[in-house]
Symmetry: C2
Subunit: 225 residues, 2 copies
DNA sequence: TCAAAATTGTGTATATATTACACTATAATG
DNA sequence: CATTATAGTGTAATATATACACAATTTTGA
């Protein structure tokens, strides 16, 4: 079966940056390419758009196929930029619509599937060489992520709660913000701001481990977002 | 000449929102479609991507072809979103990468050309019915524009100087900000902020017309951006 | 020519948000 | 029981944002 057109057409793909926090560091999910071009190299998961699916659906499907990550139900895919340099793909003209998302470190069992020979998490600051223009995409996506959780820019900073367990300590919350924004925050100022922005209720439980136990909190959902 | 592929491919287009200020109101440049679908309806200028041009080049070329607007040299095209709903174009699957730009009201002589039967400026708050999903694109682009000139979000608010003449009054500047952001600003607070943000020098000239003459200023370019 | 209309220009006080900063409390570890 | 690790706490200074009203200068038209 072939498809014939009167004018040449580029291919269209979607790529998805899946960010997560593992061992207190920002990680991103990559796949190892099983086929040429760039066979064996690491790349952002993604693939070709089907004619009957929306862009975001394509992104979600490819992610599932290549990494097994399915739990995206609920977690939003944010479109952040489209890449279309003439020579970005040696196979020909390929336009790629890039998305990003954030997943909690729970549903994270990934496996290589289909034309990806492997899928794995990489710490963002020790990335392997990447296929195509994926290093650039990753850099742009990283900046977009930082903006997304910067309350003075975005107003959707509450996505961090998707990364936190039901009950969390204020240090946990601060860690998440620091990692996503990529900068250290003052403890007292953070607590003041965090508690003022999203009302919290103490669960009564505490953490154990070295150092003073931390009180655990839950979001006070008697209000809104 | 035809082009044959093993898998179906969508078409890729770019669309460009050209904003300007005319008679103290935000305007946008639209074209009247000369061919079906939506022949006779108004639409955002744009068109099909060629295989040898980058996305932004395509946007600039189509704009020139359809509206005669050429002076884009220097004025940045900002990519803000890509549209790809399955049914957004009755001709088939079309993915559209949307850009926006702002032009001063000087280089504004537009003419209908090629497959656009006419090009014209419309006040943003009295738009005609639009083809495709262009009403949605316009709405998104409008929001993006407002963010772009909101200094607490964007840091590229200095684009307003592209819309102002060399010598301008503080009221002129305030008008531009009010129109682009879509909200009224306090005169004294605006002047304080504007002058503190971009050092100005008085030219010594003044405006004439009804009311007290306004002093004209020029940006003090002994500094940076 | 003068009253009205239109527009420019000007300062202060208040509220809110942001930043800086250092020590005590409580547990685990060895 | 000393050390190490982490949690928890408040205040002052600064910067930013907001609110607000009237005098000055010109054109216009009665």
């Amino acid at each position: 079966m072939t498809y014939t057109y009167r004018h040449p057409r580029p291919s269209v793909t979607t790529d998805v940056l899946v960010f997560s926090i593992r061992e207190r560091r920002l990680h991103v999910l990559l796949i190892q390419r099983g086929v040429d071009p760039f066979a064996g190299q690491w790349a952002i998961p993604g693939g070709f758009l089907r004619m009957d699916e929306d862009l975001a659906d394509c992104a979600a499907r490819e992610l599932k196929e290549e990494t097994g990550l399915d739990e995206l139900a609920g977690l939003p895919l944010t479109q952040f930029r489209t890449y279309g340099a003439v020579d970005r793909d040696p196979r020909g003209r390929v336009i790629s619509v890039a998305f990003l998302t954030l997943v909690p470190s729970d549903h994270l069992t990934v496996r290589g599937m289909s034309d990806a020979s492997a899928a794995a998490w990489f710490a963002f600051d020790t990335l392997p060489p990447l296929a195509f223009d994926h290093a650039q995409i990753l850099e742009d996506g990283r900046a977009h992520l930082a903006d997304l959780v910067n309350p003075s820019i975005s107003d959707s900073a509450s996505v961090v709660f998707d990364l936190l367990p039901e009950a969390f300590s204020l240090s946990d919350a601060q860690n998440v913000f620091e990692i996503l924004r990529g900068e250290a925050l003052d403890k007292r100022n953070f607590r003041k701001w965090f508690d003022a922005t999203w009302p919290l209720v103490e669960t009564g439980e505490t953490t154990t481990g070295p150092g003073r136990p931390a009180a655990l909190y839950r979001r006070d959902t008697t209000g809104r977002d």
